[in-house]
């Protein structure tokens, strides 16, 4: 009786295992005949296309087609969404974007907000990327050392990367609002409230701070991987060669980390130029247009304003695409020359 009782879970397990094995066998064997047939009929080259087709369809529909449509919208005018109702206007949208008496004074431009967004983006990118690379590098160097709780800190720094940018921005908004956590702390210590998100300088600072905080973990991870790939022997050889810690960093670590640094720089740069969601939720581009960047200008122009100027937005997005293309090419070239050299 006991034996029977003891053996029934084993029987169930055996049945389940057997069933799973049969299903797996079936799954693997069902496509075999048609695949063999396809291989015979189509040949090796064509069958590759068969596998690529589903992905190509998705890519075409959701990436390639929108790019083409974007081109079409950029050279057509009017406020209609339906393509056939949009008149062809050539380069008028681009002319409008670039109509400026003095490019260094955006108030003299026809689309002053576009130029304001360009300047804001340039300022943001130049500060944010430098800080991003710098802090990621410092953090990676610290996390690469034998410190207490290294595993914990590595997770902690990466944690913000796992959060949605919108969540990150909402959390920080909650901290930085007039009646937010930070002001409550300042007040409890006898200080006065600061309008963090309403003061143009402070809001710009916090936009940089929050984006660096949110994305730094990812870049730290890339640099940490690079640091760990540097053999310990090389450092020991440098130690025997009487290299000071600073010289070891400058002459050994930095050059050997350069391929990873270039990747980080390229990714950070491209992402910084595209910054939208964190800023949109945190400051909404404000106060005024103090934190309006290029992507937000495109969004505002195309979708958020009462008169939706799709053509202008599409033209601006092409300008952004050109900027990103140039940046990517420059970085690829730099990384190639570094690796080859």
């Amino acid at each position: 009786m006991n034996d029977k009782f003891a053996s029934w879970p084993h029987r169930v397990l055996a049945v389940v295992t057997g069933a799973l094995r049969a299903i797996t066998h079936l799954m693997l064997n069902i496509p075999e005949r048609p695949m063999r047939w396809a291989q015979r009929v189509l040949g090796g080259q064509r069958i590759a296309w068969l596998f690529l087709t589903p992905n190509l369809i998705i890519f075409s529909l959701f990436t390639f087609l929108p790019i083409l449509i974007n081109f079409y919208y950029a050279v057509t005018g009017g406020v209609q969404l339906w393509p056939s109702e949009r008149p062809f206007i050539g380069t008028e949208n681009f002319q409008k974007l670039f109509a400026c008496d003095n490019y260094f004074d955006y108030s003299t431009c026809d689309q002053d907000l576009f130029w304001r967004a360009i300047y804001n983006s340039m300022k943001f990118v130049s500060i944010q990327v430098v800080l991003m690379v710098l802090f990621s590098l410092i953090t990676a160097l610290v996390l690469n050392r034998k410190i207490v709780g290294r595993g914990f800190f590595r997770s902690v720094y990466f944690f913000p990367v796992l959060l949605s940018p919108v969540v990150v921005a909402l959390v920080w908004r909650w901290i930085l609002l007039r009646d937010g956590v930070l002001n409550a702390i300042i007040e409890s210590m006898g200080g006065e409230k600061v309008l963090w998100l309403l003061d143009p300088s402070w809001s710009f600072f916090w936009v940089i701070f929050v984006t660096v905080w949110a994305q730094m973990g990812f870049y730290t991870l890339i640099l940490l991987a690079g640091l760990q790939a540097i053999p310990r022997d090389v450092y020991e050889a440098a130690q025997m060669d009487r290299a000071s810690p600073w010289r070891t960093f400058r002459k050994i670590t930095l050059p050997l980390l350069m391929p990873n640094m270039i990747v980080v720089l390229a990714l950070a740069l491209i992402r910084a130029v595209q910054t939208f969601d964190e800023v949109f939720v945190l400051t909404g581009g404000g106060p005024g247009s103090a934190t309006t960047f290029l992507v937000q200008y495109i969004y505002n122009t195309g979708f958020a304003q009462q008169i939706q100027r799709f053509g202008l937005a599409a033209a601006a997005s092409l300008v952004l695409a050109v900027v990103l293309f140039i940046l990517t090419m420059a970085q690829l070239r730099a990384s190639r020359s570094k690796i080859d050299g």
Partner: protein, 390 residues
């Protein structure tokens, strides 16, 4: 002048001691080889000397100065790593110059020293190349060059040849020995390869489990191993170990009856003082000390001093042309390896009489660290000269 002393040096990790109270004296200009199986602590000991590993207790003294608290950079030593540890982004010249630049050596002095070292190591045509464009042997030369240009008190080599192929290893072995004669520095060399140790060292330090088993000149270790571990580690193929009991002790030596009813008795010219009849021991016989009297083809036809004659059943032979191996069994089934010069006429299934000279036999105790009994006279080290057919 660079004399190194280790006094009761210990290296402990949470998992246990890796080096357990090592005492060692290394004289100026000596070429010392640390040898031992994997995990014996030889590399750890070298790294402790270099300063790359801290000392848990004991003292490391270089030229009468305790260097325990002196960082690696300040000890005046240079190390050649197993993986070469060249700076991959620098050219050969920059690799060689880096150490000198760190101590602010004038540029022309750097250039001069590099030119000399490069010429000595025959890498002067490679100075503009990066390490990735070099072969294993060239990389090793650059690593040695990096050590040479710094003119260290002591050179440390951590298994420098283990990544090279067999042919290159033989070549580099000779080059490092030549370098030692040329430079005259103290050199400490770590290897697990006993051939490297035997061919290069002035003094071999045999390590096991963080302890020194024996220190001595290569042939001393071969001829007079202090214990069974050293006897088994030094020499290739490995010494034959045959367990038995002492059957008699007299002025000729110690007679050991090998375990097993049909196994023979072996006489060894060792001092049996303090030993008693019936005591368990292990007889050690080197494969190259067994002679086959009837085998004309090998040239080693008779043991010079006579000794023990035993029967062996040949189970397998390996003929390498210039030497032969017999894998045989004694009457009772104990396995014995015989190493003969030249080519043997013995065939599988043959029963052959072999002679084992009593002075070539070792006896090891089975307890107390398996120590060897003292030899009564000089052992017969060399086989008789092979005869050539007229």
């Amino acid at each position: 002048m660079a004399r190194l002393q280790l006094k009761k040096v210990v290296k402990s990790y949470p998992s246990g001691d890796v080096i357990r109270g090592v005492d060692l004296d290394i004289d100026d200009r000596e070429f010392v080889v640390f040898v031992g199986p994997s995990g014996c602590g030889k590399s750890t000991l070298l790294r402790m000397i270099s300063g790359l590993e801290s000392v848990s207790s004991g003292e490391i003294i270089i030229d009468d100065q305790c260097v325990n608290d002196i960082p690696a950079a300040q000890r005046g030593l240079a190390m050649v790593f197993q993986s070469y540890a060249l700076y991959p982004h620098m050219t050969v010249y920059q690799n060689l110059a880096f150490g000198l630049e760190n101590i602010r050596t004038p540029r022309d002095t750097i250039a001069k020293k590099i030119a000399e070292a490069a010429k000595m190591l025959q890498i002067d045509h490679l100075l503009d190349r990066k390490p990735t464009a070099l072969s294993g042997g060239q990389r090793q030369r650059v690593a040695i060059g990096r050590a040479i240009v710094r003119e260290p008190k002591i050179f440390l080599f951590d298994e420098p040849l283990s990544n090279l192929d067999a042919e290159l290893r033989v070549q580099m072995r000779a080059e490092i020995s030549q370098l030692h004669r040329q430079l005259g520095n103290t050199m400490i060399y770590v290897t697990h390869d006993q051939v490297e140790a035997m061919t290069m060292a002035d003094k071999i330090v045999v390590l096991r489990s963080g302890n020194i088993e024996q220190v001595g000149a290569p042939l001393d270790l071969y001829n007079r191993p202090e214990n069974r571990f050293v006897a088994g580690f030094i020499g290739s193929p490995k010494m034959n170990f045959l367990p038995g009991v002492i059957s008699s002790i007299d002025s000729d030596g110690v007679q050991v009856k090998l375990d097993g009813d049909e196994e023979p008795t072996i006489l060894a010219r060792v001092d049996g003082a303090g030993r008693t009849d019936g005591e368990k021991v292990t007889v050690g016989i080197r494969p190259e000390h067994i002679h086959v009297p009837g085998d004309q083809s090998t040239g080693r036809t008779a043991a010079p001093n006579g000794g023990n004659t035993v029967k062996l059943a040949v189970k397998h032979t390996e003929q390498l042309g210039s030497e032969s191996y017999l894998f045989a069994e004694l009457s009772g089934g104990k396995r014995v390896v015989v190493h003969l010069p030249g080519q043997t006429s013995a065939r599988i299934g043959d029963i052959i009489d072999v002679q084992i000279p009593a002075p070539s036999c070792h006896i090891f105790q089975t307890d107390r660290g398996e120590m060897a009994l003292p030899r009564l006279d000089a052992p017969i080290d060399r086989p008789t000269t092979p005869q050539t057919d007229q």
